[in-house]
């Protein structure tokens, strides 16, 4: 109990520092620390799956995106007109926010005590899904439509990012070509860490059906490994117009749709799995989805195409 209070206070302290820090770069570093502490809080809330996702995606990959942006925008000139708002507005904002926090805290305290829960129903129907991990059962069986639409949302964000490409660069290579001296520490570390990371990513994806883990966490780790290899200059992003790249990006949702529609014939409805080999079908969906999400996350971090392939 004392540990929780301490952790909560630490999280709030880091969050205050993230808001109060003057320099954006420092604020982003604070945010990454905030994300990792939040992952610890998720472990304390008995949600290891979410802790993994928060650490890998919430603070890791988001941190990389924000860090990349803050270094690029470091010398942006702040025109006088947009200086920090006056003390009056800050005071008003502070009052408003304390009221919002207090209201929310009051609501949290007054939540009903025999807290309504769907855990018993989720547990009762687990046998039909053939899965051991309840969270994966919710993601892939009970609310499979949300997961399906969410992979499409990720793909749309990537398409939105690509739509920002200046016209001459369409079909080019996303992001900058990073170079590092071949016998430097980074290249050595990348060559050693990337294979291990890919192994860990596949393990976390595979173990997801019975223990904490799953496709999103595994995909994030695989994407992180690709980003590390790209940063060390070992690998370069493929041109955006390549057909095979688009196929990989679309493979996840496409397979999810096909198996979902096959549910009409095999089981009794869209995204329903026949009980006999529900787990097999779910794994058959998860493999392409993990690949698609890993590719999408990596390309989201790489950014819109900025250079043409040198034929």
């Amino acid at each position: 109990m004392v540990f929780d209070i301490g952790l909560a206070l630490l999280i709030v302290a880091v969050a205050v520092w993230t808001i109060a820090a003057r320099d954006t770069f420092a604020a982003v570093i604070g945010f990454v620390a905030f994300g990792l502490l939040l992952a610890l809080a998720w472990v304390r809330l008995a949600a290891p799956d979410v802790a993994l996702t928060e650490a890998a995606l919430g603070s890791g990959v988001t941190g990389v995106v924000l860090l990349g942006a803050s270094t690029r925008l470091r010398h942006a000139e702040i025109s006088a007109a947009d200086k920090k708002p006056g003390a009056m507005l800050r005071a008003a904002a502070a009052v408003l926010c304390t009221v919002v926090s207090a209201g929310l805290a009051a609501i949290v305290l007054v939540l009903p005590h025999p807290a309504p829960t769907l855990a018993p129903q989720a547990a009762a129907n687990m046998a039909a899904t053939g899965l051991g991990n309840p969270v994966t059962a919710v993601l892939m069986a009970y609310r499979a439509i949300d997961t399906l639409l969410e992979t499409v949302v990720l793909l749309l964000a990537l398409l939105g990012l690509w739509s920002l490409t200046p016209d001459p660069f369409w079909g080019g290579l996303p992001g900058r070509r990073h170079h590092d001296d071949p016998d430097g520490v980074l290249t050595f570390a990348a060559q050693l860490l990337v294979p291990v990371g890919i192994l860990v990513g596949i393990h976390i994806f595979w173990v997801g059906s019975v223990a904490p883990g799953g496709e999103f966490q595994g995909a994030t780790i695989l994407a992180a490994m690709w980003i590390l290899a790209a940063m060390a200059g070992l690998v370069d992003a493929p041109p955006v117009s390549r057909r095979w790249l688009r196929l990989i990006l679309v493979a996840g949702p496409a397979v999810f749709f096909t198996i979902g529609l096959a549910g009409f014939a095999m089981a009794d409805g869209f995204l329903a799995y026949p009980e006999s080999h529900a787990k097999l079908l779910i794994v058959m969906i998860e493999v392409p989805v993990t690949l698609s999400i890993a590719a999408t996350l990596a390309l989201l971090v790489a950014g819109p195409p900025e250079r043409m392939p040198q034929q």
Partner: protein, 97 residues
């Protein structure tokens, strides 16, 4: 037997904590980014190693102990990579880099 193990654990973990403390002091006291990085990576990696050692004594299952040690090795590698990236950013035109 378990008393000795507990004693070893307490010793190792407290040594580890001491090194973490040293690293943090280094972070606060040292003038520029590079020396801070130096202090942090040295002290914290060693500190983590000792804490992991302390935990290994408590661990019955060999597989879990090996997992703990791999965690430490991965942190070493990750630490080295991140330090290299920050150093590259902090002083791009280094003497040799």
């Amino acid at each position: 037997m378990s008393l000795a193990l507990d004693l070893l654990t307490i010793l190792a973990v407290s040594a580890g904590v001491f090194f973490f403390l040293a690293g943090t002091v280094g972070l606060l006291r040292f003038p520029d980014a590079l020396s801070r990085l130096h202090a942090l990576t040295k002290a914290d990696n060693l500190g983590l190693g000792l804490v992991v050692l302390g935990l290994v004594f408590q661990e019955e299952r060999l597989f879990a102990a090996l997992k703990l040690i791999t965690v430490w090795l991965l942190t070493l590698l990750a630490g080295a990579t991140v330090t290299r990236l920050i150093a590259r950013n902090a002083r791009p035109a280094g003497p040799r880099g």
